[in-house]
Symmetry: C2
Subunit: 604 residues, 2 copies
């Protein structure tokens, strides 16, 4: 299907927006009137610019407060419309969005609304323009899409149809099934926006919190399926008002937007047999585990010392690059001293996948940038793409007979790592730039086929954090996305910590060893343990042991969770976790304790 986007969905000037929209591969654009008004480009220049970029101008919007008014107001409104028809002719745009009125001038009279809209359509037709009438969710008298359709049907003019907007329909809880009763050719336009499910004033919700399909809680694929069954053949067009996107980089938001439409089209195609002709990307190849985590180490061996303390051993050195492999069990950490890095930081994640080439194809079809392979002649091929925050994702098959293994590049890897309690990487946590949180969620969901978990708020001493885990179905891949403060603290330095959580089969033993070493564990305040005793009765012996060893505790309906943190080196620290029973979380309840302790250590 053709893909379009409203200019209001992006930051920047109209010219910057058009460039970014074309760059992301859209076919068309809705010109949001305020963007035109504020632009130094004349309508003719905008028309030429769009044509040069290969973009059709699919809609001019919005025209407000037109219908169901007294005669004198109608005259003024028709005069206003004629001016807009002139602008549209200069723009070369033939479709105008008319929103249901919110004006106190409007009366609750469908027949009058229909009569006046018919008059508007007649005038529009003289300019070759068609009117798409839309029910705003907060329209004064018309706020349901089927009500707008009844009025359009009553008006009965070939240049008058409806515009459907997923937000206006789904935010009110209207049943989108009724769309199928509207003849497809009378659906003049389809605007799409997702939104998180918030309980708030619908106008504020719409103006500030819309997001791209797949980033919120609405069933957009279901709605689009109804629209296609009705016979609609126009573009899928995004119209998103979002405070963050208004401030985010224009080009990357446009790519994020296009990714959302590709993924949406795929969902529709897979659930609607008659839409089988829709182009769909290759299916996601869901990763099955972590192959490795790669840390850029700036020099110094602090991270190596930490890994040694955790029980990992240096089992290999790369043949051509200053990269070390550290292992215990299936937990593998690469320390890369060859990449410029100010501080130790998490640079890459290796994911086990049944089909590395397929993983890359999926990522490419969803517009993920692939990375230069930076390979020495003898390196095993590593298929990789960049996540939104710049973290490299490598798709691997480690030590499988059907595929070259990245471990072959490491000499000395035939030395078996010493046995110990660490078994594998449980999860990695990435702090996202705050402009990229929704984009990152959609990326991991659509590109890797991971499932977003509940979005949590974590209290840091210097601001709130938002955290959301993306996981595969059996929990062998868990990526926690934390979003940094919205804006910076006024007087406190920003930190964007990242960490790798290693699973231990006996965290008590691991903790004892780390405790004995001294200086490795993040100190946990005694007040935490007083509160833990108040909340849970684990028996005096277990409480004493947790307190002594600095272990943190959580439980859910399915099991228990024991975890501990190392001190931080640069931007990086390690967590050791043990899941007992079916515990499926990350100890979010303990995150404020951890964050405060980290600040106390970092500020020293």
């Amino acid at each position: 299907m053709r893909k379009s986007i409203a200019t209001v969905s992006l930051s920047g000037t109209l010219a910057e927006k058009l460039t970014a929209i074309a760059g992301a591969g859209f076919d068309g654009v809705e010109i949001f009137e305020n963007d035109l008004l504020a632009s130094p480009l004349s309508p003719e220049e905008v028309r030429a610019r769009a044509a040069d970029l290969g973009l059709s101008i699919d809609l001019y919007q919005p025209f407000r407060d037109f219908e169901a008014v007294p005669a004198d107001v109608l005259d003024r409104n028709l005069r206003r419309a004629e001016h807009k028809f002139d602008v549209m002719e200069r723009l070369g745009s033939t479709r105008l969005l008319v929103c249901s009125s919110v004006s106190p001038d409007a009366v609750d009279d469908d027949a009058l609304a229909a009569e006046q809209l018919r008059l508007l359509a007649e005038r529009a037709a003289e300019h070759g323009i068609r009117i798409a009438y839309e029910a705003l969710a907060w329209g004064r008298h018309v706020n349901e899409y089927l009500h707008a359709w009844r009025i359009a049907r009553m008006a009965d003019h070939p240049s008058l149809g409806v515009c459907l907007d997923s937000f206006h329909i789904l935010s009110r809880g209207s049943d989108p099934g009724g769309i199928e009763a509207i003849p497809g050719e009378k659906i003049f336009f389809l605007q799409l926006a997702d939104a998180p499910l918030l309980a708030m004033d619908v106008l504020q919700w719409s103006r500030h919190y819309r997001c791209f399909p797949g980033q919120g809680g609405f069933d957009l694929a279901g709605l689009v399926a109804h629209v296609l069954r009705a016979g609609y053949s126009g573009p899928l067009s995004l119209e998103v008002f979002n405070d963050v996107f208004r401030q985010a980089d224009t080009a990357r938001t446009a790519v994020d937007a296009m990714r959302s439409l590709i993924a949406l089209e795929e969902s529709v195609a897979r659930r609607l047999p008659q839409a089988a002709a829709l182009p769909v990307p290759p299916r996601p190849v869901v990763p099955t585990g972590f192959a490795f985590a790669e840390l850029a180490v700036a020099g110094g061996d602090e991270v190596g010392a930490l890994l040694r303390a955790l029980g990992l051993a240096r089992t290999g050195v790369h043949g051509g690059k200053p990269v070390e492999l550290w292992e215990q069990g299936q937990a593998r950490i690469l320390l890369n001293a060859g990449e410029p890095a100010e501080d130790p930081s998490l640079a890459a994640i290796g994911l086990e996948t049944p089909d590395p080439a397929g993983s890359v194809k999926r990522a490419q079809s969803l517009l993920s940038p692939t990375l230069p392979r930076r390979r020495a002649p003898h390196d095993a091929p590593l298929d990789s793409v960049a996540a939104p925050d710049g973290t490299a994702l490598f798709f691997c098959r480690t030590a499988q007979p059907d595929h070259t293994s990245w471990t072959d590049d490491f000499t000395g890897a035939s030395v078996e790592p010493a046995p110990g309690e660490i078994t594998h990487i449980d999860h990695v946590a990435l702090t996202q730039p705050w402009h990229h949180f929704d984009e990152a969620s959609l990326f991991y969901r659509s590109v890797l086929g991971l499932r977003p978990q509940e979005s949590l708020e974590l209290a840091d001493p210097y601001g709130l954090l938002r955290s959301r885990a993306m996981t595969n179905s059996d929990g062998t891949v868990r990526i926690a996305l934390n979003v940094a403060y919205v804006g910076s603290h006024a007087s406190h330095p920003d930190v964007s910590w990242q960490h790798v959580a290693l699973a231990s089969r006996d965290i008590i033993a691991t903790a004892r060893r780390l405790h004995a070493l001294g200086g490795v564990l993040l100190p946990i305040p005694g007040n935490y343990y007083d509160d833990l005793e108040a909340r849970h009765d684990l028996g005096p012996e277990r409480h004493r042991m947790l307190r002594e060893l600095g272990l943190l505790y959580d439980r859910d309906a399915r099991g228990e969770f024991l975890h501990l943190y190392t001190v931080t080196v640069g931007r990086v620290f390690f967590e050791i976790v043990q899941r007992i029973g079916g515990y499926d979380g990350y100890g979010a309840q303990n995150a404020p304790i951890r964050l405060a302790a980290q600040h106390a250590t970092a500020d020293r």
Copy 2:
């Protein structure tokens, strides 16, 4: 009255919070449990720290989900309470906040709730602790304060009373008049928070948008008056959950908080005769006009050239400092080349006041920092304080027989400025750091006695701005506060423009002159005028003239507004305005046009 604040209202560690709270002059503190849990200080150490700082620990909070539960849950809850009583004894705190339950374990049975709360009070009494029971606005069965009081009365134990929280009462629209039916000695605690009037889920509203009294839309003075009439004699205590305060500087937020309580206490005292014993600050001395605006000019005479173009003349030079006075009519601009400034910026505002010394006393009583006078021996005394964004406010009586005039310091000031259309300063607009917006509103309201006008959203190409004007009653002092983006644009440099708007008695003449000069006016796109013609029928002649001269137009129910902008020099630009009839706004509708044009110019 004693003044207290909950630690959750501020950013930082518990130790940082206590220091800031004492520094702002509070008498006591509510210890928010999570702040204690995350602190490396033991309860004994917190107790000692608070005592050293002269702070009493007025409340420990919150204890959740206690009452109206089955017997086995009750046992667990009592065990949990005993642990908290231990912590409170170590802290030296004797009052515990118990919130009405939100647990699915709780049943809707007031008698059972009362019985179990009585049991809790008996246990508490053994530790010398009193229980303050509070109805959360989202409590499962108990969510109205009078319901909580009925249960406490039924429980009938001297160690059980209620805690009243203004947010929980006013957010539900409950009538606070009922408070007077509660015996004062059974009101164990009073928590105060204001909030903007938002239509949203009350829990989210409470957790993210509370603010200090006078910063939101609730009538807190009315509520406190009811509480005092009931006979309450405990502290006024702030409990504010606010995403911005969580990230703002700890010490300045504490001062902002204290200022809000001083102003609140004053409002209560003025409306409640029997509270006449309350200490009140001197009454505000509302400014009656602008004496001058002072710009720090970094060197170069770009600003002087702009002023000359606008028709102002250099009428004086300061006797001892490199400061020039420029005038036309009552519009006076100081150009100060003696202050270090990277870019030209607005450094100070002179306000006409009937009593400069009284203005300073008022400001000091509300904790505004006074400024060193930086006077040369012959300077007229200038009384000044610092606004939250650092702008200096000078209180002046210009050329009045009863007071020395600051203009006496300027030689050559006896030369009359050339006649022209500019009459006075209409308003100044200050861009606030985003952490300081609510603080700034409260400052101008409480210190200067200005009235906050409607809060507006303005679309900038690179993010939304919030704008709110503070004015005196006859509109002769208007200060517009704009808040910069929440966080920065991802790839666009921040700007924090400030401007001085000069009133013209004949803006057409002014515009003609500026237009003829060339290079002075901010260019306004033609599309704006096309839209203006669509929206208003001003006659072809007037439309042609507006377009030709680059004038912007707005109207409200009371009149018309014509305005134009100069180009920007550093952070500063000028606006020329003409109010026709009773127009009372600032042309907010045109702000996006102006902002886009400024970016286009600045980015060149």
